[in-house]
């Protein structure tokens, strides 16, 4: 139901009341902003010297490197998780019982364990076998982060794809078999393309989650944006203090901008998919949004009845 069903078109009294609420609400928000700025100013965070550090070439280079290493992890983990997710989805849908059991077990285990726990365990593991692992050992925190993100997000992407495959009408599969297509052909030519197409917004939303979760690198001391910024802030002293607050505010803006960009792509694709007359229902971009966690499309699905998840 559109929100307008919940209330009548405002009459004169309601209009006055709405204006009062508007003024009160805006005043409250404005008050909060003013208060924050006042307090920040009082604590000396708004001093020009504090913000002047961002004019420093070294600081800028630090932040740029942080962004680049965040993006590096994101690109690698994003691509790998899509590939592994595809494999896991196909494995879980396989007719061979044991393959589908193994895939199911893998997916359920790594989806249930917090990503941070996985990454940390991998990190410690890599560090303790540093010498035997070669490339991975040299860069333990990077690979722990990438592999942890890959495994976790692959499990979620696999579930998304599986939901997409299950949403393809049965008749199409039967028709394909009747035409004499083989199992592999049905999967690659019929099911997966439609699954990917209908689930694209959810897949991209999960990529947003991947991007957000790269910040867990902070905890395994990988120099992604958050960690780089924090170490940088610890090394700078302005007016006798570390400018942590200012740096955190700037980094927050960068993160939000990156994630917003990616999620608006998801929303755009969703809108575009709804307009196209392909007969494929497109899932919600907000689906999982970031409830990093779960069968995508659960949240926010009932509305327009896009593909039902795994039922």
């Amino acid at each position: 139901m559109s929100s307008s069903v919940l209330y009548d078109a405002p009459g004169p009294k309601a209009r006055v009341r709405n204006i009062i609420y508007t003024v009160l609400g805006s005043a409250l928000v404005l008050g909060l902003v003013v208060f924050s700025v006042y307090r920040l100013n009082e604590k000396g965070v708004l001093e020009p010297e504090v913000w002047n550090i961002f004019n420093n070439a070294g600081v800028r280079a630090n932040i740029r490197d942080g962004v680049l290493s965040t993006l590096k992890v994101f690109a690698l983990a994003g691509v790998l998780s899509l590939v592994l997710g595809l494999l896991l989805a196909v494995a879980r849908l396989s007719d061979h019982k044991w393959i589908s059991w193994v895939a199911t077990g893998f997916i359920e285990l790594f989806r249930a364990v917090p990503l941070l726990i996985t990454i940390y365990a991998l990190w410690v593991l890599f560090l303790s076998y540093k010498d035997d692992l070669g490339v991975i050992g040299e860069n333990a925190s990077f690979w722990a982060l990438v592999i942890g993100l890959t495994v976790y997000n692959a499990c979620v992407q696999a579930e998304v794809l599986r939901a997409g495959v299950n949403a393809v009408p049965r008749g199409q599969v039967e028709a394909a078999y009747a035409l004499g297509l083989r199992k592999t052909q049905v999967m690659t030519m019929l099911l997966l393309p439609q699954a990917v197409r209908s689930m694209l917004p959810t897949i991209i939303s999960q990529l947003v989650v991947t991007l957000k979760d790269t910040s867990l690198g902070y905890i395994v001391t990988y120099a992604e944006l958050l960690f780089a910024a924090r170490t940088m802030a610890n090394n700078i002293i302005v007016n006798g203090e570390n400018p942590i607050t200012a740096v955190v505010i700037v980094v927050a803006a960068i993160y939000i901008a990156m994630c917003l960009l990616l999620s608006s792509l998801a929303t755009w694709i969703e809108k575009r998919g709804r307009r196209a007359k392909t007969g494929i229902t497109v899932a919600h971009a907000g689906g999982t949004g970031g409830a990093p966690e779960d069968v995508p499309g659960d949240v926010g699905m009932p509305m327009d009845g896009p593909p039902d998840v795994s039922k």
Binding site: N18, T22, V113, A121, G289, A291, M303
Partner: protein, 215 residues
């Protein structure tokens, strides 16, 4: 098995920590989420805008960053000297509230139009319509997504452990710092999380069955 038995007190404390953290920040998230969802469907445009901004902001911020903000920005602006526990609850609760809000909002949109129309036609105000008619009926559809949100919250609470709050990730960190083999620790911590998440999904399934109405 030794690691578990020798460090049972630590594991128990961590387990209880995770459960309490999940419960308290879940409660905060529920309250905030329902209020913000109310904002998002309200007749006052700026409130709608505020709700939308809230959701967009918190959904696109990494949780680790929210933790950093709770640790380094909130004390500067509001009260210095908050306990790590309170700051963790604030970060987790605010983050999760955005997802609760979206779940509630889509639940609201599944309630048949006629219900709200009938409520309005007998003269109920917006708040009465929402509180007495629409929200109680929305609960039914909201339960399933809420269950996944709470499971996500449990898993997200691990990040609090990295910020020196006593919970399961803290246990893993402590024991691996002491030099115990990581694989068994990982498995035990994983099992502990599995217990919590299975309990949550079980409880919600029970709730769903209780609330489900034959249609």
């Amino acid at each position: 098995m030794n690691v578990l038995l020798d460090h049972l007190p630590e594991f128990r404390e961590g387990f209880i920590g995770t459960v309490l953290l999940t419960l308290s920040s879940g409660l905060l998230a529920m309250v905030l989420g329902v209020i913000v969802a109310g904002f998002r469907v309200s007749p006052v445009p700026p409130l709608r805008f505020l709700g939308a901004a809230w959701v967009t902001l918190f959904r696109n911020t990494p949780l680790t960053l929210l933790f950093l903000i709770a640790w380094f920005v909130v004390p500067v602006i509001f009260w210095p000297g908050l306990s790590p526990w309170t700051k963790a609850i604030l970060a987790l609760g605010f983050y999760t509230s955005a997802f609760v809000c979206e779940a509630v909002r889509s639940g609201i949109s599944t309630v048949p139009l006629g219900q709200a129309e009938a409520a309005r036609s007998i003269g109920m105000t917006f708040i009465q319509t929402l509180r007495l008619i629409v929200l109680p009926q929305a609960t039914r559809t909201v339960i399933a997504p809420l269950s996944s949100i709470f499971i996500a919250l449990t898993k997200n609470s691990a990040i609090a452990g990295a910020f020196s709050v006593a919970e399961l990730f803290g246990v893993q960190k402590l024991l691996s710092d002491k030099g115990f083999a990581i694989v068994p620790i990982f498995l035990f911590v994983a099992i502990a999380y599995l217990i919590i998440t299975f309990t949550i999904s079980g409880l919600f399934r029970l709730l769903e069955r209780r609330m489900g109405v034959a249609r």
